[in-house]
Symmetry: C2
């Protein structure tokens, strides 16, 4: 394959995780998605639930700067370092698909990494989280916008880059083209042949 | 083909026009690129040079509003209307590839239209306009940023949408993946078989 590691950033409700699974299944390579949480928890010593919610925590830069000293990193920074450590090791082990967790940034200098971002129209995201994922919210659009803001702030804080900015990716796919079509785009670009 | 009309928006120097030509050649469908200028000129009665430079003209919204009256449209609006008219007719004639000129917006309601945006890292754009296109500028980065601002303002004025915003496209491709690979992505998604 031209690219052996595939990172997939995604808007919540875009179907990005399903697309990642299709790609990993067809290429028969490991998928690191929820599994990552457990690995980062083990590496860092934090509870999996704390790792999982790290991108939903708001950290003021001001407080962060006050608190920071090199011997005593803030907790979320420790989580991020563990995350970077786990993701770097996984990428060294061999071909795989990694969903979210700033993997595109963590692996940005490796030429074998294909960086993809999946997004979708708001009405499709609302339908998906409500009907397919069964998530509960009084106002789904506001709920998704809040998740976007958190992911964006988290990405920005740890990478200094803008989440979803085309220039940080090779390919951005609107999943309205269909999830299998989106998976096919990634497989074609990765240069992999589907395994039968 | 799943999508018979392919619109390609692009940053100047991204190689988007070359990619469009590759797609049109491989699918053996017409390419409307510079040809469009002449057709819009004929439809509107304006000189081709006036049509060509329309997206480089700055129009203040304030002056625009003062000037506007329904019987006497500002000149650039007349050009845009001719452009919309020509592009709509072309799309009715059959499969084709259309480069730039807000075609994605003009044809936004047609399900058979695949909307693609091609971009590239600044250093590759600079290299391309300097070495491949032989354009002259004292500061290529500023030159390209100026073109970006003009295209963006033009798109915004006539569509009310943001130029290059992922949500207005099906697919955004970083041409750093290679121009043939980018063309292949579009061909795969259009659902067309390459003609030998």
């Amino acid at each position: 394959m031209k690219y052996s590691i595939i990172t997939i950033g995604r808007e919540h409700g875009s179907g990005g995780r399903t697309i990642a699974k299709m790609v990993a299944d067809k290429l028969q390579i490991p998928l690191y998605d929820r599994k990552l949480i457990q690995m980062i928890a083990e590496d860092s010593g934090f509870a999996a639930s704390y790792v999982e919610t790290s991108e939903m925590r708001r950290t003021s830069s001001f407080l962060y700067n006050l608190y920071f000293d090199s011997r005593n990193l803030p907790l979320d920074d420790q989580v991020f370092l563990a995350q970077a450590n786990v993701i770097t090791k996984l990428a060294e082990k061999g071909p795989c698909v990694i969903v979210g967790r700033c993997a595109d940034y963590i692996l940005r200098d490796k030429p074998s990494v294909l960086k993809v971002f999946v997004y979708a129209p708001m009405e499709e995201r609302v339908r998906r989280v409500e009907e397919d994922y069964g998530e509960k919210a009084s106002d789904y659009q506001r709920y998704l916008q809040k998740i976007d803001r958190h992911r964006s702030a988290y990405y920005d804080r740890f990478t200094g880059e803008e989440w979803g900015n085309p220039h940080n990716y090779h390919l951005l796919i609107n999943s309205a083209i269909g999830l299998p079509a989106a998976a096919q785009q990634i497989i074609t670009l990765a240069g992999g042949k589907e395994k039968e």
